[in-house]
Symmetry: C2
């Protein structure tokens, strides 16, 4: 039993080391980095290669001795699927072990105008199309990103006010579709998935991550680790109060940050239709009013929520993502003004307000990456399956 | 070098195990709990006993075999000193290795009416008296609890608005006094020290700790660990905003929780003099107004700050301490109402609002305990000194 655990642990270490390396590694290089013996590395690499998890490149000769075989995670041998349910679209992304996209499908759809069951039908159909795009590749699993609170036990969406969803048994319903039958399926908060790329970019850092999308939310990262909290819901800045007894939020509460700076609230306040896309929101608002006023309102509301969170957490970095990233330079001075007026941390030095990497669809990519995770944490189970051959 | 580290580590483990045990332990019991060999335990215990850190009790015979010698941390062999600077008093407490008080001295003094230098003179004098009370006991060090932000590098008090202190070089000035010369001296935020006892009472738990005293502040505890943040300032609930552009706080900001529910703000708003003691505050306020109104205002303000923090941290327990502890039962329904109106965590189940252990002077006791910590983390240095004999 102990040796099975050890073997699994070593396989996981080898695969993860290859995935995080900037360039392919030789068996000797792997042994050095993982501190495993060369015979152990050779034996386990052989298994990983046979299972289609690791690819051997063209041997490189250093002149003397045996040529070095470069190793890297295999491309196109398996499929991990991310789903994102947003107010105005549903997207599905399939990636392989290297994180490379194999297929992405998006359907623009007003989710609040449909029933949850219809939206779930669309999700299942998109998964089916992405799996078809990927040919015969074996699927690791599916993770769905949802702008709401997920029950930790069974993947029910307890509340996703920006989708008008309450108590939607998302995971259970997805599993009932033939496109997903038998697959591991999980649901997770969209903001907590979207922060994963940012954590990779900032190893070991502590920061507040704020993302504007369907809702406004985020995550708290302490020393490179995502803070979970009691129910996996930490980082819900969107429902901290910025105006006591203020505007009614879609969640039913009053004065939430989201009642002022979410897609829905900004759009409705400006009298814009629901055909505006999230990424075009601020530009559309500016055409209907004074851009400085729009930025000012968003920035002051965010600044207050951020200042309150900084006082509780004592962090020195704030990262803006989603629709906030492209306007981060405009927002920065407004947020900074409010933060400096209220956050004690500025007594020790400036608070950094930065933009995220700006890559598109961070929640969708985070969901696909989360779906891939079981292969890295327990490659042994994957090795025990039928080996697959590269699709390309 | 390695073996010195190992020895220090083992000494620390043994002493800490004895301190956290509910009853005295035998050498065999220590070996079992620490997983050290019996010869190692015997050798190190001998050193700890010789240095006056561990006491041997009366041997107990189990009938057969060698009688068991009960071991526990030694009483009255050393002195660790805590100081507390509050708005209306300065206290000094000396404890021994068991945490038992050897001497406590308090001076009631309006710190804001005096200069910081005068207050520091009083601190030094109190330390001198406590050391005199303790006779010839060797002093481990001094930790001062201050209601403010301490510079992580040199123990300057950057700001302590409720004392009217800005940039006070507390540690440096204390060290200049003959009563403290040559001692290790540190300063720390009062609320972060006061939570230490609560952490012991709730091993491994996660909770928000809110303390009403000179100011209103607290701490965040995650899985039994105090959250530090970037500068050791996490848990400053008192300066989260509960009324945007609201009342002016002593810190110079507007709308802080502390502008509504601190000792100063409540007293001044009710027109009470500064001769009211912190622990008598709510009773005094009730004599000048409607008690339900006073409790309602305090509870709603706290509730909003707590709800915002719960949304960011996703915790399920709130502990009330300081002047909030004796009125916790009255505050609970008011805080609960506001928390339930704003905290997402209630979607998963009730948030527990509890009172702290209610022991007097938690910050002072926490400070003394923090002063003791070096003996537990590096007993070897203490062993290398001259051994001391029990004072009683």
């Amino acid at each position: 039993m102990q040796s099975t655990h050890l073997r699994e642990h070593n396989l996981s270490t080898l695969l993860s080391t290859l995935a995080s390396a900037e360039a392919p590694l030789s068996r000797a290089g792997l042994a050095k980095l993982t501190r495993l013996t060369k015979p152990t590395v050779s034996k386990l690499v052989e298994e990983l290669v046979a299972a289609g998890l690791v690819a051997e490149g063209t041997p490189v000769s250093a002149g003397a001795g045996r040529p070095m075989v470069p190793l890297s995670p295999a491309r196109g041998t398996l499929l991990a699927i991310g789903l994102e349910v947003a107010a105005d679209h549903i997207s599905c992304l399939g990636i392989d072990l290297t994180g490379e996209a194999i297929s992405q499908r998006t359907e623009y759809l007003r989710v609040t105008a449909a029933s949850a069951e219809e939206a779930i039908q669309h999700c299942a159909a998109l998964v089916g199309r992405v799996r078809a795009d990927a040919g015969s590749l074996p699927t690791v699993g599916v993770v769905a990103a949802v702008p709401g609170r997920i029950a930790p036990d069974d993947g029910r969406v307890l509340s996703a006010p920006n989708l008008d969803w309450t108590e939607v048994p998302l995971v259970g319903r997805l599993l009932a579709h033939p496109e997903l039958a038998g697959l591991p399926v999980r649901a997770q908060n969209d903001n907590r998935l979207s922060v994963l790329t940012e954590i990779d970019r900032r190893p070991g850092e502590s920061f507040i991550y704020l993302r504007g999308s369907t809702g406004v939310g985020g995550a708290v990262v302490l020393d490179g680790q995502l803070l979970d909290g009691a129910h996996g819901w930490a980082g819900e800045f969107g429902h901290t109060v910025v105006v006591p007894d203020g505007a009614l939020c879609r969640c039913g509460r009053r004065g939430c940050l989201e009642a002022y700076v979410s897609y829905h609230s900004l759009r409705e306040r400006a009298g814009l239709g629901d055909d505006v896309r999230i990424e075009d929101l601020v530009d559309a608002l500016s055409r209907h009013g004074d851009r400085a006023e729009v930025i000012g309102m968003i920035g002051r509301s965010l600044g207050l929520a951020v200042a309150n969170a900084l006082n509780v957490l004592d962090l020195a970095t704030v990262v803006l993502s989603g629709y906030l990233a492209p306007i981060a330079d405009e927002l920065e001075p407004v947020i900074r003004g409010t933060v400096e007026a209220h956050a004690l941390a500025v007594e020790a030095g400036p608070v950094r307000i930065e933009r995220s990497d700006g890559l598109a669809d961070p929640a969708l990519r985070g969901a696909a990456r989360a779906a891939l995770q079981p292969v890295f944490s327990a490659p042994g189970e994957w090795i025990a399956r039928e080996p697959s051959t590269p699709a390309r």
